[in-house]
Symmetry: C2
Subunit: 565 residues, 2 copies
């Protein structure tokens, strides 16, 4: 049905209405000729904004627009350098921007519909803020003069944006909208990345401005902080004297080159290399420096760090327990250890590690780089261990893994340490529902690399709409959907917080059965081909097929469910 | 796999760890005998909170908990009066609480996981705030002493909550947690309802307190404001003198008894009765007073109100354009009209209308109550009009309609004016993704009434996880899924804001095809039986079957897609 027909139908039923010609005054004010002619001399605020961002190299917009963003959509439409990708829920949009930013170290643009639209995207922006990913959020807003009337969608957009943004900007005029966008870009590019949000009122977008007023500048990239020589010397000294020293690595220290330098330091001093529990992007596998991972549960982390006397942090901050538990400590590093913050997350990690290695007269190369290992499979019902082996054996070189596998993802993480070289992306902020959107963004950023989304069922449900975008954009993603029909981690946590005698009612809040989710149908319902596997052999075959075929594919792996201890 | 087995597996692979016995110190500290004995004299903060809320009549908790809420889950588990309903996404949880609150005029409890979990629920809380629904949000938080460490899920929860809450409370101690919950309840019960959120730190939940410290009070229900006699007299006078007067009705003025009084006023004065465009809960159909609905598009609304000289508002506020458009007005009431605010949304609407009717010496009854009309169907491909007739013909008495039908829902709204009596619930805050969760809440609140969710495809995708809760709880909901494979309203709006020449790229951001969504598979994937219909006859049959069968059922109605004018 055409909009004209639709409105006529409304009128015929509602009555008392003037001709529907009044609904398109713009058609009368502007003929196509007027418009074409006008475009030689004028553009509106939206056009200027999108042009300025495209000039500055921003070339992807993940979008979920509404009426107040139609002029921004039109401007994106006119700008051939800006790719537009629709998400059917804002959490997909923001999670995709996170994945894109992690892989390219430059921001994608998001397009979000006022405060509540931003709210839907806020959980994955929380994760992105924790990952320190570069992102620009472009948030539509009512026309400035319309706000006073408190229309239904009016909300405190700044209030929505602040808890998950490093910076929130508000356009002051049609002429300054483009500059506001460039300001956001500059913030987003702060090493290693920031979440920058700006508010674009509809009238600033639609008002025509003088093309000469459009900023011609590109945004400058702020330089990262650099570690002081004294701190390098202090760390070098600590490593020389420390009996049991740890280099605690996170953020940009987990890129291949930085890890290479950490490996040089290890070759010289025997220091342990331990990574954050949840890393934004960890370059690992064959040919790279191997690391330990700090365990998730506080008791295990404390045990892992026991006896450490020198704790040197690069690209991260002191590790703490993910949650608090009754009568258990929050801090994981032994009280007796000396902690040295060599480089916080905003300080150049590669530079810091290189200078530390040089200060130690470390050898030119690590003592050992990881080599590839193929694992022998045990046929039969699949479990976390065999799943991990299959993923590790099958992982193609340069693959990207979006890991939201939760409890059943650990096996794959462990075994891929000796797989082909790859990038491993994790849930940085603890707000589940990141994995599938992150895969969308990574696949958009790196169309020549295979993406594997290692995805737990409970977490997948938060943003399952990402599957549709995978299908529409034909993204090269293999989703390994780990279906254990429960929030397994919560069953474990339930006991850990001291609640051991819960009943059926409490358990019902932690399990995903009754009814079981059928991920093959859910995937096919959104246009993604899928199959279910229950055995190691089936999974191995399915992985082989999926990885050999371009485009999205979902493998639902039925895993053992939760049983009480 | 048991949690113990899982952790052993982790340890075997991670190495260097102490015995996993350290993971459950509580098991050592407390034997079951200790616990049982202790429970005679002590309870923890969570137990006290849930008991106090149950004592005060709160008996449903829509929940999506995480680790920091395990003690709250355990407390709910122990309280037999509190029903627990799991949503697999927080937008389902908050939207369900909205539907529950609208139907029962008392709040359900939600259980949400820290700031980002609240963020996922914020869009539907925006809608609930606009609907003035009573809701209590119980938001888990890290233990107070743990916040300083900035663990990954740490966030500004108050910042998340404020934009969509009328009130945000923070527990000050384990002993005061229960009172904080009761404070929230009292706020939520403010006529007609408020969104009250409170933050429950994990240590306040798990710390044992003296049972004698638990508040024994129930929350008091604040009385609504009452209209002043002078205002009633002013309105009566305006209606006596006005040539073309309008009673503009919203909020609690749309309940059957209030509309009855409005009908008395109309019988006396001939005043037009016009409702808000989007009503929280409108009691309509046979035996009730018929009203006009203010059109959505500003030009149509202005035309509908043209010539009005007295504009009297009850239970609402002056209507404004939903969005602003270039060169179009925001205000809909003619400048020449006199506006009288008889009762704002927080003032007792039934009382105001009754006193106004009495002041006018209105007859005891309206001149006319709506009678039921059966509509003759035109067989063939289905469209908005025939769909409306089928819904109207088939609607059972006392049905509840959750209307997020968007463009294709208008037909059903119009025809059901003469259907069996029913409650019609609408999208109050403009943030799409309300409809399915709202149906969950309404069906939970009113298990003996049939719920029909009239649901557009684009909107449904935001919170499709609601289907799973419908299946798990066997809720008596018929979902009429209106699949036109586009954000049809945005295609219309695109032209209305003056963008008539958009290309494939812009259109791609507004359509939901490529790939088409298969709602039968999506529903079945979440355990809801479903079928697809394309003709009027098929839809009529499917509705008959669905309404005759208890439990959830989804009918995917394939409607004409969008075509450019």
């Amino acid at each position: 049905m055409s909009p004209r027909l639709f409105l006529n139908l409304l009128e015929n039923n509602w009555g008392n209405l003037a001709s529907s010609d009044t609904l398109w005054p713009h058609r009368k004010l502007k003929t196509n000729a007027d418009r074409l002619c006008g475009e030689l001399y004028f553009m509106n605020g939206a056009d200027a904004l999108i042009k300025a961002l495209a000039d500055a190299g921003v070339d992807v917009c993940f979008a979920n627009p509404g009426t107040s963003e139609m002029q921004l959509v039109a401007a994106i439409d006119k700008e051939p350098r800006m790719r537009a990708i629709l998400g059917l829920f804002e959490g997909v949009v923001t999670g995709a921007a996170d994945g894109y930013g992690r892989m390219l170290d430059k921001p994608a643009l998001t397009l979000l519909h006022l405060g509540p639209g931003f709210g839907n995207g806020s959980a994955n922006l929380h994760n992105a803020r924790r990952a320190r990913s570069p992102i620009i959020n472009m948030i539509g807003e009512h026309a400035t003069y319309h706000r006073q009337y408190d229309a239904p969608l009016t909300a405190d957009i700044e209030g929505f944006a602040k808890p998950v943004s490093h910076w929130v900007g508000l356009s002051a005029s049609p002429e300054s909208l483009a500059q506001t966008g460039l300001d956001a870009l500059e913030v987003a590019l702060s090493y290693p990345g920031k979440v920058a949000s700006f508010i674009a009122p509809a009238d600033h977008a639609w008002t025509e401005i003088d093309a000469a007023a459009v900023p011609s500048t590109t945004a400058s990239t702020p330089a990262p902080a650099v570690v002081h020589d004294d701190t390098v010397a202090e760390a070098a000294n600590a490593l020389k004297t420390g009996n049991t020293a740890v280099l605690f690595l996170g953020g940009m220290a987990l890129r291949e080159e930085a890890l290479f330098q950490a490996g040089r330091i290890q070759a010289r001093t025997g220091v342990r290399l331990i990574t954050e529990t949840f890393c934004a992007r960890h370059q690992r596998g064959a040919g790279r420096v191997s690391t330990e991972r700090l365990p998730y549960f506080a008791e295990q982390a404390i045990a892992a760090l026991e006896g450490t006397d020198q704790f040197i942090i690069v690209g991260s901050k002191p590790p703490v327990s993910f949650f608090a538990y009754p009568d258990k400590p929050s801090v994981l590093v032994p009280e007796t250890a000396t902690t040295i913050l060599l480089a916080d997350p905003r300080t150049d990690a590669l530079d810091a590690l290189t200078r530390l290695a040089d200060a130690l007269d470390a050898p030119a190369e690590p003592a050992r780089l990881q080599t590839r290992v193929l694992h022998k499979l045990e046929p039969g019902d699949i479990n976390m261990v065999e799943l991990g082996k299959v993923v590790a054996n099958r992982l193609p070189a340069d693959a990207i893994v979006s890991d939201e596998g939760a409890t059943n993802g650990f096996g794959a993480f462990m075994y891929t340490n000796t797989a082909e070289p790859h990038d491993w992306l994790m849930l940085t902020g603890g707000s589940i529902g990141q994995g599938l959107p992150l895969a969308v963004g990574a696949a958009t950023a790196c169309p020549d690399r295979k993406v594997i989304a290692l995805q737990a069922d409970g977490s997948a449900m938060y943003t399952l709409q990402a599957l549709w975008t995978m299908a529409r954009e034909a993204l090269d993603i293999t989703v390994v959907l780990l279906n254990n029909r429960s929030y397994a981690i919560l069953n474990i946590e339930m006991e850990r917080v001291g609640v051991a005698e819960s009943s059926t009612k409490a358990r019902s809040l932690l399990d995903l059965s009754n009814p079981d989710l059928d991920w093959v149908k859910l995937a096919e319902g959104m246009g993604v081909a899928a199959e279910q596997v229950v055995s190691v052999e089936q999974f191995d075959d399915a992985m082989g097929k999926a990885l050999a075929t371009p485009g999205p594919y979902l493998i639902e792996v039925i895993l053992p469910g939760y049983e009480s201890a």
